[in-house]
């Protein structure tokens, strides 16, 4: 099953959609739990197995997600689990968790439902660019379809009841992944991060909580879920916060082009030089080098390959994808060499 995934890159890496020069992808996730069932903290092994069995069936029903694929995470090996993390289909916590748990995935990977993560259900919709209204439509449809089939834990005052009280209410988490290289180069990034935190938003690296912003990718998400409607949270993101940051980043890119075009081109082309000549390269270095190139493509200053190829490289140079492709487990050094080989091969075969 996972083999099928490896051959594709997923919708969110298309590199299209509104504001995709700055917004890499957006995601909406809803936390839901079954009524009259223990949360995972106190659920017995039998409870967990029963909840997983039943929800794996319900979530993959054709009225919920048509032609869905269910991956049993407890049975999947380490590389497959990490592969799903790299594709943003499950969280790191879910990969590292214990006991019966899984994920139901739509054929185009835009929808995924984690079962038995922190909550019984985490329903997500993920797409490239800034498309929060569309995502809300999709995730809401899945939520409605599931609510017709299973009873959710809900309270008139507190809304949807979640394992952690910080998610109670709407249970919604809106996240937008932004590429902000120019704001970092012009040293404005900390200012944006602080302004976002003032608005009670979380600013994190690309793989969620506790991860670093490698390759100038930042994930911004809401932290409060009680007292505001889903629509108002989404609207704040799509009409105010994100357009503002996009505007800042574009202005910073403009400044770089006007005042430092030689330095900018130098940075882009040196990165390309390293990527196409290295004999050993880490995943972190690859992502850092891809960052100025990503900007260069959007600024129409780099044409050696396009954004789709860049996104493909971005995904396939990550550890699990690299190992899956070669069909074996590799240590750090072996991975670094295999990654450099892949990059030279992939980029050399492209006509300039």
């Amino acid at each position: 099953m996972i083999e099928k995934l490896v051959k594709t890159t997923g919708e969110w890496l298309k590199g299209e959609g509104p504001s995709s020069d700055v917004v890499v992808s957006s995601r909406i996730r809803l936390a839901r739990n079954l009524a009259e069932q223990p949360f995972l903290l106190t659920a017995s092994a039998g409870d967990r197995a029963e909840i997983y069995r039943s929800l794996a069936g319900e979530t993959s029903n054709d009225v919920v997600i048509p032609d869905a694929m269910v991956v049993d995470i407890d049975e999947a090996d380490e590389i497959d689990r990490n592969l799903l993390v790299e594709r943003h289909l499950i969280s790191r916590q879910h990969a590292a968790g214990e006991g019966p748990r899984g994920v139901t995935i739509s054929p185009d990977e835009t929808q995924a439902i984690m079962i038995n993560e922190e909550d019984h259900l985490r329903i997500q919709s993920l797409r490239s660019g800034l498309q929060l209204e569309l995502l809300w439509h999709e995730v809401n449809e899945i939520d409605e379809a599931l609510a017709n089939r299973v009873p959710f834990a809900f309270d008139e005052q507190l809304g949807y009841l979640t394992a952690c009280p910080t998610n109670v209410g709407t249970g919604i988490r809106v996240s937008v992944m932004l590429h902000l290289p120019a704001l970092r180069l012009t040293k404005e990034i900390e200012r944006v991060a602080r302004a976002a935190r003032d608005l009670r938003l979380a600013v994190r690296g690309s793989y969620g909580e506790g991860t670093e912003a490698v390759g100038d990718l930042y994930q911004i998400s809401n932290q409060t879920t009680l007292g505001k409607s889903e629509e108002s949270i989404i609207e704040t993101f799509s009409r105010t916060i994100i357009p503002k940051i996009v505007e800042y980043e574009r202005a910073a890119r403009e400044t770089l082009m006007k005042q430092h075009s030689s330095q900018l081109d130098d940075k882009i082309w040196r990165s390309y030089g390293l990527l196409t000549n290295a004999r050993m390269i880490s995943s972190g270095e690859t992502q850092s080098l891809l960052s100025p190139i990503r900007m260069g493509i959007h600024l129409d200053r780099f044409h050696a390959f396009d954004i789709r190829t860049l996104n493909e490289i971005f995904l396939y140079t990550q550890p699990a994808h690299l190992q899956k492709r070669l069909g074996k487990k590799l240590d750090d050094d072996e991975r670094a060499a295999a990654r450099a080989d892949y990059l030279r091969e992939r980029l050399a075969s492209k006509p300039k």
């Binding site: 498309q131 834990a153 005052q157 007292g227 505001k228």
Partner: protein, 189 residues
């Protein structure tokens, strides 16, 4: 996006002459922006090129150079809150009859045991919930099954038609196509 409040930290970077001399020089300098007020904020950019800027606090704030000190994240607030409660021993150890979780266990784990815990621990949880959600104590938003049941068919259609117009106006044709399909489905019912 508001950037209010002032961070009083003044950072001086001086790889050249003596720090004292430079400091004297710049403390007498006027703001490079408005040229009226005394420059009290001195910034050295190193990327993309080395450049010093000397601004008054007003202009520095306008430029977004100085900002209000960081606020705590929800998790920090939660942890702080839990620590305080444990430290002061303020809470009785209530136990949920349904799942057996005690409030003290929740304090350690940060997670609840079952949906009933919200009722059982209500007195202890509500202040924490209020803090974690910027004062929010009442759910606003959708309810299970509150989508478009048959009796709401008409208003549902109205809403969708408005959404369709919005989507077209925003040139979001992918969304528009989806909404259009939803309207067709509803109309056929």
């Amino acid at each position: 996006m508001t950037l209010n409040g002032i961070n009083p930290t003044v950072k001086i970077e001086n790889p050249l002459g003596t720090a004292k001399k430079l400091h004297k020089m710049i403390t007498k300098m006027n703001c490079q922006h408005c040229n009226k007020s005394r420059a009290t904020v001195h910034i050295t950019d190193t990327v993309p090129e080395r450049k010093e800027r000397h601004l008054c606090e007003d202009c520095a704030e306008k430029e977004g150079v100085i900002i209000k000190p960081n606020q705590h994240t929800t998790n920090e607030i939660l942890q702080q809150f839990i620590k305080q409660k444990i430290g002061l021993g303020l809470t009785e150890n209530v136990v949920c009859p349904q799942c057996g979780l005690s409030f003290q266990e929740f304090q350690v784990k940060g997670q609840l045991g079952c949906p009933h815990d919200y009722e059982v621990f209500k007195a202890q949880l509500m202040p924490l919930i209020e803090r974690a959600h910027e004062g929010g104590t009442k759910h606003v938003g959708k309810k299970p099954g509150g989508g478009t049941p048959p009796q709401n068919l008409h208003t549902g259609l109205l809403k969708l038609r408005r959404e369709l117009q919005d989507a077209i106006q925003q040139e979001n044709y992918e969304l528009a196509a989806r909404v259009r399909d939803q309207i067709r489905n509803l109309e056929q019912q």
